[in-house]
Amino acid sequence: MLRLAGISDHTARLLAATPALSNSWLGGIAATLVFAILASRNPTGNPLPFLIVAPVLPLAGVATAYGPGVDPTYEVGASSPMRGMRLLMIRSIAVFATTSILAIAASFALPHVDLAAAGWILPSLALATVCLALSTWFSPLRSAAIVAAGWIAVAIVSVSIVSGPVRVHTIVAFRESGQVSLVVASVIAVFVLILRRDRLDRVDR
């Protein structure tokens, strides 16, 4: 299928070995999105459940794209001349794109499709890049757990301290300033990842 999409045979083989592109994984993502959409079909039409869940899914996909504990051939791969950074990028971009396409498609099932429905895209990018940067210190799964826990904690605290009705902009990440901050965080995370890319070729992290 990847070959039919115009992807070279060697890149297709690298992607075929990506756990987060397996049918069972993508089925799980789709099921989670369905639940998030159902939760967002509330009487107030507030899409907050979807906006909080949607960024976590690409994060989970990226975390299981490549690394110790998620790729059974990681150690052999780490000893090969192809840089871990390159393999990580090939797989992460494919996983991020696939998961995001599913989430974008799902967002059209929200009760009110407007610009606010796209509010999850920048958080999603920031969570994934911060996770990749952290994975130069920790294992990918631990990095994803830290980032996801941080994201959910921010969402819960934001919702719990508000006195009036809960709206999309209750969460700082969905305000304009928050979205700009997330872009900055993504850029910083990419720089950290580039600086520490050699760590991706080591099993002791």
Partner: protein, 288 residues
């Protein structure tokens, strides 16, 4: 005299409070070097460093003339390296061919035709040519072990690092493995770890015995066996003073250590010397 291809000096590694390597030094050249040692001796940590996937806390390595601490040198080493981890993992939905093809791509073989020919060559070498289209999940444990070995042979690497390659192989497969590795090691450097003293005796030009992160012995297998000369006895009865003692098939007890009553000296083996060096005396390891 062969050129030194692996030079390791005063390498140390800690994992938290556990000291995995406590100043290991040795040199390797073309041929087969066997690492012998009990579990936790530091063999896997050392092999991972030679495979460039782990860095030492201190000390230095020079592999094929390159320092793996440097990123570009590390890539140069990896272009001439074949590595089989202790627990090789597989994408089980892949066929044997697809798995080795995947590793070949990681080894920068991008020309499809040449790569596929190379994949079939190493599968044939390991006796898996007829299983190329079989899913990995349908292969036996021994076949998977051979598959893991096959990927190390891609591109005819100068340095082969094999972590317990004979574990789980039946006697015939082990003999075939020895045949294959001994042919390769004429021109290449092979460093392997094993629990099988027989592998070392029959296959290796050099042996390194490790325990608790240090090298206890480095030399040729014959010299290792000589360490036990004068300390291995055959006696009619078991003697409690023996470091290790077990009854053999001929009814006599083989004693390692102090001479028991009515005993006579017998020819030592590598296994005797290994047991003396490592000094393990737990009851479970005494085969009565």
């Amino acid at each position: 005299m062969n050129e030194t291809t692996v030079r390791i000096q005063s390498v140390r590694k800690h994992f938290g409070s556990v000291q995995a390597l406590a100043g290991v030094s040795f040199e390797g050249e073309a041929g087969i070097t066997g690492l012998l040692g009990p579990n936790g001796a530091g063999k896997t940590t050392l092999l991972r460093m030679i495979a460039t996937v782990m860095s030492p806390d201190s000390g230095s390595l020079l592999l094929l003339g390159h320092d793996p601490a440097n990123a570009s040198s590390r890539t140069a080493i990896r272009r001439s390296l074949g590595y089989m981890p202790q627990e090789p993992g597989f994408h089980r939905a892949f066929t044997a061919f697809e798995f080795v093809d995947y590793v070949a791509i990681l080894k920068e073989m991008t020309d499809r035709r040449a790569r596929h020919a190379e994949v079939m060559r190493v599968l044939d070498l390991t006796g898996l040519g007829g299983r190329a289209r079989t899913k990995i999940r349908a292969l036996s444990g021994g076949m998977r072990r051979r598959l893991a070995l096959a990927q190390t042979l891609l591109g005819d690497p100068q340095l082969l690092v094999l972590d317990e390659p004979t574990a789980g192989l039946d006697p015939e497969q082990r003999l075939r493995f020895r045949e294959l590795i001994s042919e390769i090691a004429v021109r290449q450097t092979v460093i392997l770890s094993t629990h099988q003293t027989e592998d070392v005796a029959t296959l290796c030009n050099r042996v390194i015995v490790m325990n608790e992160g240090i090298v206890l012995f480095e030399g040729v297998p014959r010299e290792l066996a000589e360490l036990a000369r004068g300390r291995v006895w055959a006696a009619p009865e078991r003697d409690v003073r023996a470091k290790l003692s077990w009854r053999t098939g001929d009814g006599l007890h083989r004693h390692i250590g102090t001479a028991p009553e009515g005993a006579h000296l017998i020819e030592p083996t590598i296994e005797d010397a290994y047991l003396l060096l490592v000094g393990r005396t737990t009851d479970e390891e005494n085969v009565a």
